[in-house]
Amino acid sequence: MKEKAKILDKDALNRSLLRIAHEIVEKNRGTEQLCLVGIRNRGAYLARRIAECISKIDNANIPVGILDITLYRDDLTLIAAQPVVHKTEIDFDITDKNIVLVDDVLYTGRTIRASLDALIDLGRPKSIQLAVLVDRGHRELPIRADYVGKNIPTSQQETVEVRLFEVDGLDEVVIVDKA
């Protein structure tokens, strides 16, 4: 595992989140019926940060939920490391809400596919939008993000690591060589 390049530092990462927050408010013409749902693990922290930015922009408190998609994955039997099942914590009714799903990296699209299934089991939202900090390409499903922090062209031999203060003690996004 070799670090190849730093894509975002702390300031750049926070500027991206602030811009995404502005775009969400702009596209939804305000914050009425708006909710954020972060995908475990790092998407949950990003959702909270975006909600904080929105509360400063529009002076509104946006409900934030956490989605655990372990039980919805299509590769449960394939992955080497056994996933630990965590809780889904969405304590508001999502029916008729405009939901913004938040994740750190958009890659194959399979996590998002599973998240859509998981969300729809909880109710019938008016709309679901997608915000990601990094879009690295290589989609395997017809899925795209509505809000993107940064587009990073990558090769499949690389991984994109998003490090967040809440989990990793610092904010940065780096590209790492798998070999």
Partner: protein, 314 residues
Amino acid sequence: MVWTRKDLLGLEELSTEELELILATADSFKEVSTREIKKVPALRGKTVVNLFYEPSTRTRVSFEIAAKRLSADVINIATESSSVQKGETLIDTGTNIQALKADIIVVRHNYSGAAAMLARHLNISVVNAGDGWHEHPTQALLDIFTLKEKLGRLAGLKVTIVGDIAHSRVARSNIWGLTKLGARVTVCAPGMLIPVAIEKMGVSVTHDIDEALSDADAVNVLRMQFERDTQGAFPRQLEYFKNFGITQERLSKAKKNIIIMHPGPLNRGIEISSEVADGAHSVILEQVTNGIAVRMAVLFLVSQGHDKQYETTN
């Protein structure tokens, strides 16, 4: 912590970490049953067979609901109406179920060790839903899960188990699980219903119910299994109630927030008074609710453990 076992046969062989993983996984599964659509696709396409050689409603229904909430397909076999009546052995029944490409067998049997024997002969997962006097791991896990949920911890808790300890698989599984997780266990019963040398399992023994209640944080009241009394070891029902029954009066001398558990089915007026069973200390129905989350966790974990093993042998 990674789960690698294809079966759950008892709590005796589990490590503290494995017990904690089951409890943590069950905690995550509990939320699923509060949804409007009480279902997740984790075991979609898997088949779970409930194979019950002893009568059971609550455990079988609980396993069935747990499997269905994970989107598995469930088949129930009650042996009174199956080929077992024509003399088929347990292993033959098991290999046939395996040949039908089922993924998990949940088995209850009146012989101790039946689940373990089945597991040895099969490649698919076996979950013990009670074998003779030996173990009933998922019942103990749901008791322990409920205790932890109610009291916030297990280490240092004082738990009393009252009733027929000698014939009780629930008692044995509870003792293994609780002592591994740091609780202190006291068993209380008439002398004839306490097995010799049970102290070796790390528990204290008393025949005085008031002493057993005096400093307990929780009491697990076992059903008096009169059907298992073949040697005249059991006291009369009224005598038992008088000397060991859990009543409001006895509880008035116990800790104020003591928790009363019972694995069901209840014999009101024999081991527990109705007042206590329906009272503020009772968590009996919460145990039933938690049983689903615990069994979902167990079914999910053994199916994962099985996959791992399958990969390495292919």
